[in-house]
């Protein structure tokens, strides 16, 4: 199967502080990859670089074999991005679901979902609305189309933001701790949606602290710490890792 996302030797530092030190990661179509690890290990930064919210300092990034940035000189050289105009087309490749939803509060639920497809992707309004309504129905929110984000619970808002991302038909969906701002009850309804997407073979990278969920839903789990991938494998391999640090981390989260 083809490589949907390919990251090689990704480096990123904030104010001299190395957040990502040397990350290589390949995601194939239909794969579900979870990234776990302690706070400050660089998980979110990795997603933000892949979603073009941050520019990486070194290494390469490509979607579907098309280069977003490539290193200058050798493989670990400073990243050189393609021109801005070309960069914009890559926004169609991925969607990102944020920890705190970031819905547009002045737009109704329906407009939140429809606006980008219409304005950015040039999809006819009627078609976009049909897609949006069927997405809402899928996510159990058909009666909320005309509501405003402030009238929804956190779990509902997060489901709307998933619908908003899906409406653009991305190749891959990134989740940046999608349930960390939710209480356990609401967490369940969001995880259910992601589980459903996994069943439909949506390609996803999920940064999460929900261990049992990651174990259940992922094809592959990555354990990150100090800006490096410390361990990588199937859920079974990772949960039975011989590395003490991995065991310690998983044990701690499972116990809490």
């Amino acid at each position: 199967m083809e490589n949907l996302l390919e990251i090689r030797h990704m480096r990123k530092a904030f104010d001299e502080l190395g957040v990502l030190r040397d990350i290589s990661l390949t995601v194939k179509k239909g794969e579900v990859v979870s990234i776990i690890g302690p706070s400050g290990s660089g998980k979110s930064t990795l997603l933000r670089c892949a979603a073009l919210l941050e520019n990486m300092d070194g290494g390469s990034l490509s979607y579907l074999g098309q280069t977003v940035c490539r290193p200058e000189g050798d493989a670990a050289g400073d990243s050189i991005y393609v021109p801005k105009k070309e960069l914009r087309k890559f926004h169609r490749c991925f969607g990102l679901v944020f920890q705190n939803f970031n819905l547009f509060p002045h737009y109704s639920v329906l407009k939140n979902i429809v606006d980008a497809p219409v304005r950015v992707a040039g999809i006819p309004k009627k078609e976009a609305e049909e897609t949006a309504r069927s997405l809402l129905a899928q996510l159990g929110l058909e009666d909320k189309a005309d509501a405003y984000p402030c009238q929804l619970s956190g779990g509902q808002q997060q489901r709307v933001s998933i619908a908003r991302a899906l409406a653009l038909k991305p190749e891959i969906l990134f989740f940046d701790e999608p349930t960390s701002a939710l209480d356990p009850e609401l967490t369940g309804e969001v995880l259910k949606v992601i589980r459903q997407l996994a069943k439909e073979h949506m390609t996803m990278i999920i940064v999460t602290h929900e261990m049992s969920f990651a174990r259940e839903v992922s094809d592959r789990i990555i354990f990150m710490e100090e800006g490096l991938i410390q361990e990588e494998g199937t859920p079974e391999e990772l949960f039975h890792s011989s590395k003490e640090r991995v065991q310690e981390f998983i044990g701690k989260l499972a116990a809490s």
Binding site: A51, L52, L53, R88, H91, R92, F94, G95, L96, F98, N100, N102, L103, F104, P105, H106, D115, A116, R119, V120, A121, Y148, P149, C150, R164, A165, L168
Partner: protein
Amino acid sequence: MDLGTILLQLGSGLIVSVEIFFLTLLFSLPLGLIVAFGRMSRNGIVRTVTKVYISVMRGTPLMLQLIVVYFGPYYLFGLRISATYRFIAVIIGFAINYAAYFAEIYRSGIESMPKGQYEAAKVLGYGRMQTFFLIILPQVIKRILPSVTNEIITLVKDTSLAFVIAVAEMFTVAKQIAAAQTTVVPLMIAGAYYYVFNLLVALAMERIEKHYRYYEM
């Protein structure tokens, strides 16, 4: 002079005040947005220039600014001042002064917007202009309405400063009648006119605020 005549004469002055009021808003509200962009610019020179501009506009009396705008062309360039320039000078003076205040209000609103709104827009593929005008600005307007209302109410009363370059707005007229007739009645009536004017302004702003109450941030 009977009361009817006084009311009528003040009324014609009021029209001039209302003209100054609306024309000032018409020019200073958009100009303020441009100044706010300059104030937040990544270019250090642009930022410093706008900072000095705002500082001077807020730090010196509006009355003095009106005098400078009106007499400046003559003293600086020896240009003859035409009769129509009097009113234009008032509008220029008010607009550049109020733009400075509005710019700082816009800036406070724009800087208070959470970063996540920009990021969500970027990931969805909105361009920079689309992000600002579709996503950010509507929310900024809701946030800054109370401060803008304050500023607009001050503007109603500030229109009386146009007397300094002898534009016959309401307060100028009231003072002339008061001096000629040795009575304070015209001044009291002018006060009542200003009050009613502001009452209408406050009501209008309240309606606009209500309009934006359909969502919370």
